[in-house]
């Protein structure tokens, strides 16, 4: 596989236009568990122990729902042997010391926080414990080996000291060069069910999200942005906007107009009153319908070669039978619950930014570039993120750079607030893709030739990461999950190629990235082949997976737990899928019915092999949530552009999954010796094909386009 989101390192960055970024580690999945920091981490950067014994864990990653506020703290606490009830967390500032161990830059994504930090955070905990023991030994004039520590208390003979008693002295000692980490059999916290540490503030309304930032003198801005992709601001008239009570200033942005007011409502009314004229969109304006027609045309021919083994055309010609299918997925918005926002306060050559971001290093560098200063003069306060899903990790740093420009132009501290409509129409979508898959089968119905063409925009192409993450014209995020499919080991002839057309529509990674469409194509096609061969979809898959025990085990466990092979309840049918993403294997069985022409998903059984499971309760939540996120795309999600303009605007015309559509979900986490994988994203990908395969079992309609729509006669 070529580079992907989990495959870059940015160690230095100097702004949007001339962003200088260095990369290494093409695949965190393989590299992270061994990617120890080059020098021992400084415990003081990641951990504070106060005199009252409270332990503050400093998080190098952003909490956006995925639970690292708890999981990373567990890693430190495991080795520290502290009192868990006294552990709390805070987000780190943006600084080089908090760079991702495998990727260099400070960021959150690629389902990599827990596996990426597994060694560093445990090492910090072990180092801090060693320092506490040394300080206590010095106090008692003995050696650390004579002491025991548990639950935040150090014991020597009949004497005790709490961590709080000795932490001041301990943190002044030089950190040890190396420490011994616990063997897994000695873990007390890792692997146990631990409830979230951020619950108290999130059930009382006290948690601070970016949108909640407030301080004296702060103004709110709402920005008028281009109404269509490829348009430029020609002129604007602020007279009526300035008449709105509470509006204080109207300032231009890079390609828009910001209305700065005393509060959101005034700023919003002010923006409504702005008059602006825009250039006609380049090329007459993009249309997703036209683009998909072009994509289909492209898919008729091969693109840039990703994989070419054996003679695919020859093998297709010789095959006992052939099966061809096209799969399509639309553009998708992330639609995080908290619309985008960013607060900026500029003071001379210094700048403070408050925002929920997944991309601190890039945002910091971009802000510094705009202000003509250096990254160290830009302080980033990471708030809680009201959902991320990739939208808050933007190489173009759109919502941060814009806020810096507005604050600079306005000359006052400003919080830029995006309305829901702004957020939905603001670009940076999961790209649309077309897959054409042509498979040649032997007499037993097994694939001997696999010819696969993918068409869709490159996520990393055209970004500062392009030259490091796009290799030989292949953006790995466009094809991940195809060439490395576990089903194709015995398929002698394979040809996978990629077209990456450029369009004016801006695109970005979206929870589980390329797997969102490749799993749909692969697992739908495998299901089609099983039915074409007249075989049970489970048995057919297991035959292909005989050399892949982790996949076979996950799939087999999910199937048996879902009652595969026994009759489904009347009017329902089951479908299954298994897929690996971000180092974890997830199998899902969906049980569906069709009611009034609509697909209803009643139950999902999910089985996860993610290697070491740090917090099973958190894993269950991520799997439930990923399935809900994937079901939104399977049943509803479709972002449309006409004449360059985004048609959808809010949740009434861009529906997402609601409570009444949420299936019962059972999650089983396998005990596994496999390498640790990620868990924030992988369960998203299998649900669409699992549902489509169940719909086929029920109705004999093969739905190959997302969102899934039954023919009217069904």
């Amino acid at each position: 596989m070529t580079g992907s989101r989990r495959g870059f390192l940015a160690s230095a960055a100097t702004g949007t236009a001339g962003l200088v970024i260095s990369f290494h580690v093409p695949n965190l999945v393989r590299a992270a568990p061994r990617a120890a920091a080059p020098s021992p981490p400084s415990p003081n950067a990641f951990l504070r122990i106060a005199s009252d014994g409270s332990v503050t864990v400093v998080l190098a990653h952003s909490e956006m729902g995925q639970g690292i506020w708890t999981g990373l703290a567990m890693l430190i606490a495991e080795e520290l042997d502290c009192d868990w009830s006294k552990v709390r967390c805070e987000h780190a500032p943006a600084a080089p010391v908090y760079g991702h161990p495998a990727m260099g830059m400070q960021m959150t994504g690629g389902s990599s926080s827990t596996r990426g930090e597994f060694d560093r955070y445990r090492t910090v905990g072990a180092m801090a414990k060693e320092l506490l023991l040394r300080a206590a030994a010095a106090r008692w004039k003995t050696t650390p080996s004579n002491l025991t520590a548990a639950n935040g208390v150090i014991t020597f003979g009949g004497k005790t000291l709490t961590y709080g008693d000795i932490s001041g002295a301990a943190m002044e000692l030089p950190p040890p060069e190396s420490v011994q980490l616990k063997a897994p059999k000695d873990w007390k916290l890792i692997g146990t069910t631990v409830r979230r540490l951020d619950t108290p503030e999130k059930i009382t309304g006290k948690a601070q999200f970016g949108l909640d930032v407030a301080f004296p003198g702060l103004r709110t801005a709402v920005v008028l942005r281009p109404p269509a992709f490829g348009t430029k601001l020609v002129s604007f008239d602020a007279a009526d906007a300035l008449k709105v009570p509470g509006v204080e200033k109207v300032v231009p942005t890079a390609n828009g107009v910001a209305v700065v007011a005393r509060h959101f409502w005034a700023a919003k009314l002010g923006r409504d009153a702005l008059r602006a004229s825009w250039s006609a969109p380049e090329g007459g304006g993009a249309s997703t319908e036209k683009l998909l027609t072009e994509f289909r045309e492209l898919a008729r021919g091969d693109g840039t070669t990703v994989v070419d083994t054996g003679n695919v055309q020859g093998a297709l010609d010789l095959a006992a039978s052939r099966c061809e299918a096209w799969y399509e997925v639309p553009y998708l918005a992330h639609a995080t619950m908290e619309p985008l926002n960013c607060t900026v306060k500029i003071d001379g050559d210094r700048c403070e930014i408050w925002t929920g971001t997944q991309f601190q290093t890039v945002d910091q560098a971009v802000a510094a570039h705009i202000l003509g200063t250096t990254s160290d003069k830009v302080t980033i306060h990471t708030t809680f993120l009201g959902g991320g899903f990739g939208r808050r990790a933007n190489p173009a740093s759109d919502f941060v750079s814009e806020a810096v420009i507005v604050a600079q132009a306005a000359g006052v501290p400003v919080k830029v607030v995006w309305t829901r409509e702004d957020d939905m129409r603001g670009g940076y979508y999961r790209p649309a893709y077309v897959h054409r898959v042509h498979v040649g089968l032997d007499r037993a119905g097994l694939p001997q030739a696999w010819h696969h063409v993918v068409v869709g925009q490159s996520i990393l192409g055209g970004t500062p990461f392009e030259k490091f993450a796009v290799h030989n014209g292949i953006d790995g995020t466009s094809v991940e999950g195809i060439a490395d499919s576990p089903y194709l080991d015995d398929t002698r002839a394979k040809h996978v190629s990629l077209h990456s057309p450029k369009t004016p529509i801006t695109v970005l990674w979206w929870r589980s990235v390329g797997h969102t469409h490749t799993a749909f194509a692969m697992e739908s096609m495998i299901d089609e082949l099983a039915h074409a061969a007249g075989q049970d979809p489970l048995a057919y898959r297991l035959a292909l997976l005989k050399g892949k025990p982790r996949f076979a085990r996950a799939l087999g466990t999910a199937a048996s737990r879902a009652g595969w092979g026994t009759p489904a309840p009347v009017g329902r049918a089951r479908g299954l899928a298994v897929h690996e993403a971000f180092g974890s294997i997830v199998a899902e069985v969906a049980e569906v019915s069709v009611e009034g022409g609509r697909i209803k998903v009643h139950a999902v059984t999910a089985v996860v092999d993610c290697g070491t499971a740090v917090n099973p309760l958190g894993i269950e939540a991520q799997v439930q949530g990923s399935i809900a996120f994937g079901l939104s795309a399977a049943l509803h999600g479709k972002l449309t552009v006409e004449d360059g303009k985004v048609v959808e605007s809010n949740f009434h015309d861009y529906p997402v999954l609601r409570m009444f559509e949420m299936p019962r979900i059972t999650v089983h986490v396998l005990r596994s010796d496999g390498k640790m994988g990620g868990i924030g994203e992988p369960a998203t990908a299998p649900i669409a094909p699992a549902v489509a395969n169940a719909v086929f079992a029920l109705t004999r309609q093969r739905l190959r386009t997302l969102p899934l729509r039954l023919a009217k006669e069904a």
Binding site: R196, T336, L617, F651
Partner: protein
């Protein structure tokens, strides 16, 4: 105008068409009530008026009158309301952004139906979107809160 919010009377200077949501958030610094859509589609801004759940984003402040406003901050001083305790026990929250609205809707449901079925929950909570997909645990927590409330009486 005067507003009765969480048991205290507040004097606010706002135009009558300003939504209650922005009065709470921007004029009174009660930021626990969230903005999600501005058109009563997502439920993140749910507050109670005399105990009934309403969408503050489409409630002009002039329409509130003498009715008592309850926000997430007014539910309990310390997160000890049975619904909040159930939320903690069931480990519901993820990003947390929609949870004030989910909780306020759940409290209103339980006042109306102390022992709701799954169908009751689906009907009452389907106006509250959660993009993290906490719905399964929201259901569990509401059933648990129902038991906690029964125990408390």
């Amino acid at each position: 105008m005067k507003l009765d919010i969480n048991g205290a009377v507040h004097e606010v200077d706002a135009s009558g068409d300003m939504p209650l949501l922005w009065v709470l958030r921007d004029l009174l610094q009660l930021s626990g009530t969230k903005y999600g859509c501005g058109m009563a589609q997502c439920g993140a801004c749910t507050v109670h008026l005399d105990g009934n759940p309403v969408r503050a984003c489409v409630t002009p402040v002039s329409s509130v009158g003498a009715r008592k406003v309850t926000t997430i901050e007014g539910l309990s001083p310390d997160g000890s309301h049975p619904v909040q305790r159930a939320w903690a026990e069931a480990d519901v929250v993820q990003c947390g952004y929609c949870q004030s609205g989910q909780i306020m809707t759940a409290v209103a449901l339980l006042q109306r139906k102390p022992h709701p079925t799954d169908s009751d929950i689906d009907a009452a909570l389907s106006g509250n979107i959660c993009r993290c997909g906490t719905y399964v645990r929201v259901r569990e927590a509401i059933h648990l809160a129902s038991r906690l409330q029964r125990g408390a009486k």
